[in-house]
Point group: none
Chain length 523, copies 2
């Protein structure tokens, strides 16, 4: 059975805390959503947001392959006619074929929030839908608070459906506006609504109870044919139903047809792209699309997945464009390491001396507080070393750090550094915001003389974790550095009781990794 | 109806990517879980992790009010007897009253992964449970892959239940090991299992399909009486059922009794505490416990919530220890601040100039990246200052840090420091593990000459957070320091792009707080 996907990342998603899209951002997201195969894209609320009016103008030039844009707006005000409503007029001017109008469907909400009578609310809904529909548009009606409204006064909630239908709406979307309805209740109420009306029903859930995806799926199983939601679950409070969860569940597990199977493989990419554009941290633990979703850490799990993938993978990762990866860690065994080593030295077996050496080296580092699961760069260097393939690109002869007292006028820290490459010494200095930044600059400045391609390299992330923090300022710290040279990204790690030493070790690994890459040592 | 909570944050949660707890961390989490009212706490796997064996030794001294600790381990190996199994022996040595043993319940998994016969697997399960049970322990049996196993061969899965029961298990936990089973299937299979066996059933879901909480709730509605999960949903891949979602749904919406209502109010605090200790970014969008869960951004929503809270709040935030906030929260903010200030200056009113000053001071600090919710010490000092009651106990005249190159023989950093108290200078020096430790020692050494009671003071925790981490080594860091003088504990904060400066500011606040306490400035 076919399900229509209605994406509201740009409207409902944009109400999420910390999210704000420029018009340019929105155009790029529309293109990605269209490419994925969304059927409807709610691009904005032109009546309440002037920037959205501009967006619709620009979006009119997009050549969409799959999606239709929709404009979102409110029903008219109590006591006023729909045709004179300025906001409604703006939704018409957006120039979309479809307009989505929201109105109340709970008697209590009508009386307490709008302060209107139950009958006046039906008039508002009727007039608003009729006005838009008479203007030649297809109207979707979002029935706000439908589930709470139904529990409170089922007859009234159903009369809202009847009103929307007779006014000419093409679909009614049942909304769990406060996000607190349990999936079983959503199933039951959706089933009753589907029995009551011939109109196609949609479902719009919020995640306040942590069950929005489950509620959405329950609605579909009970008659809803349109699914509303956002990429990554963006949205106000706890977010809106996450299409990156709902769509693969419906399609891969329940056999509904949402998008062509080929398009589903773009899901991971779409999720990362939307996170990137919205400048929010991507949730690596996200179901289906997260970087950890098919990552195996325990040795026993890695072994099991090699023998029977479904043991620890509920779907083939490739079906949503994701990939399997294995982490090497304390709990992991030799099998994971072998996978990594096999890339470097295909002839090794589980019992080779090099594997044993590497394992015991890793164990001793881990005892010192190192962790390689997020630092494959340092891990691969370590493997290179245990294969005897390491190249000494440089040595550090001396360095001095000069720090003036904090909170003084001159905030810069200074680093003086002397390195040696093939017997040739190079001494230089650099300043920075704090000692680590100064060292980073000085080291790369000195080395770039010998290795010009280091200029391509950039540190893009820096994380500090305090280990056994009970020891306070003398505690061990672990520093993780993420670096990139434009085409590749790698992570390295350093551990010490001294944060500068820990950072320095991670920094040295990062530079060595880049040089090792460029010299083809990992081939 | 009563539901037992079985927390596995320290075992299953610790397998989550990027999470690694020290023994000290684990002991603190155990205390918090116990305080919340968890019934069982799975503290570790002593057979596979030597550090966990050490943990159980230390944990034996904890006086727990609510929880019982459990040790986790695997069934014995194929073809080998349970009594000689080294790992099983270790679970016994953990000294807990309860031992949880996991084994396979899917025929396909037995054959493909263990490479044993279906009958041998039943023997393994029987012997392992019997061995542990005969040693006087209560045994919980985790039936791995139960749902997939049931779908594949229902009779075999049920024979695993029968075997566990006859071997003496006190409960069987149905595990959705690959996290892909849909809630309706979990409901159905749990119902059948509950009809089949008289043993109490538990449920253990993983979140690979994004439906772990829904699946857990479905199992409870169909007969499971023990719920397994982790705080914040920590766990391998996409995580494990999130108790911060499951528990309030069960208790507030379905009327099950998990913890006393008073304890449920500690949920938000527990979630933040666990995130902090694991040094993972707290998900502010998290249902129930997130900082955004009851935050209203749209003006229309704020208006509606004021008229009818349930319109956009599915539960009263206070029932889980959370609070409502709105963008126009300055008024609410002022009220909270007034409470704090009232303790210092009972005569102030909401409109006093001092309150306004303090508010704008706090805002400007917050813009710089400060956060006071975990640093009441720094906050109280700030309030003292805006009341004009600060006492300048000392000034720092100069300091110098001398750092030799990392990884050298002499790892000590040196700090030279000159302070002035009432016109009298004192110069001294100290060494430490890294610059911050050296500064800390030197500062307190110099001051103790004037303020002997500073000798009572000890730094007990030190945490570093990187803010806007995209800027790599020049990013801002926030340092939190926890200090104690034996009878009181306080926390202070410092922010800077320079980790040493950030630490130094937190350190200065910490010392000033202790002195202000001793001089009765907070009275």
């Amino acid at each position: 059975m076919k399900i229509c996907l209605y994406d509201t990342t740009l409207r409902d998603g944009a109400q999420g805390p910390g999210i704000s899209f420029t018009t340019e951002d929105k155009l790029r997201i529309i293109a990605a959503l269209d490419d994925f195969g969304m059927h409807y894209i709610e691009a904005g609320n032109p009546g309440s947001n002037p920037k959205d009016a501009e967006l619709f103008k620009k979006a009119a030039n997009l050549k969409l392959k799959n999606a239709k844009l929709t404009a979102f707006g409110s029903t008219c005000r109590a006591g006023a006619a729909a045709p004179g409503d300025a906001a409604l007029k703006k939704t018409l001017e957006a120039g979309t074929e479809i307009v989505t109008i929201f109105g109340k469907s709970g008697r209590l909400h009508v009386e307490k929030i709008i302060g209107a009578t139950a009958a006046e609310n039906l008039r508002i809904i009727y007039d608003s839908i009729k006005f838009i529909s008479d203007s030649g548009k297809t109207v979707f009606f979002d029935a706000e608070h439908f589930f709470d409204g139904y529990k409170d006064d089922a007859d009234y909630a159903l009369s809202v459906l009847r009103t929307a239908c007779s006014a000419g709406a093409s679909a009614v979307i049942l909304c769990d506006t406060n996000g607190g309805t349990l999936p079983d209740e959503i199933a039951e109420v959706t089933r009753r609504a589907a029995e009551y009306t011939a109109l196609p029903l949609g479902i719009h859930c919020h995640d306040d109870g942590g069950l929005a995806a489950a509620g959405t799926i329950a609605a579909v199983k009970n008659g809803a044919v349109q699914v509303q939601g956002t990429v990554n679950g963006f949205g106000e409070r706890c977010g809106t139903a996450n299409l990156c969860v709902v769509v693969p569940n419906l399609q891969l597990k329940l056999g509904y047809e949402c998008v062509p199977a080929e398009n589903l493989k773009k899901l991971t990419q779409l999720a990362r792209y939307a996170a990137e554009i919205s400048n929010t941290a991507f949730n690596e633990n996200a179901p289906y699309v997260g970087g950890h979703a098919f990552t195996h850490k325990a040795g026993m799990h890695i072994d099991a997945v090699n023998k029977l993938p479904s043991s620890f993978e509920h779907i083939p990762p490739s079906s949503v464009g994701n990939t399997r990866s294995t982490l090497v860690s304390e709990i992991a065994g030799r099998a994971a390491l072998l996978n990594k080593m096999a890339q470097l030295a295909p002839n090794l077996t589980k019992d080779s001396r090099e594997i044993k050496d590497a394992l015991s080296l890793i164990k001793s580092y881990e005892n010192d507080g190192y962790q390689f699961e997020n630092a494959e760069g340092s891990l691969e260097l370590l493997l290179l070393r245990s294969l005897g393939r390491r190249k000494m690109f440089f040595s550090v002869e001396t360095f001095r750090l000069v720090l003036s007292e904090p909170n003084g006028g001159d905030k810069k820290a200074g680093a003086l550094i002397k390195i040696k490459v093939d017997g040739i010494e190079e001494i230089t200095a650099a300043e920075g915001d704090g000692p680590v930044n100064a060292l980073d600059r000085a080291l790369r400045k000195a080395l770039t003389t010998f290795y010009p391609r280091l200029a391509e390299m950039k540190l893009i992330d820096f994380k500090v974790r305090v280990l056994d923090s009970g020891a306070a300022t003398a505690a061990k710290v672990r520093v993780l550095i993420e670096s990139s040279d434009g085409s590749r990204v790698w992570r390295t790690v350093g551990v010490s009781t001294d944060i500068i030493e820990a950072s320095w070790n991670a920094l040295l690994d990062s530079v060595e990794y880049k040089l090792s890459l460029d010299y083809g040592l990992f081939m």
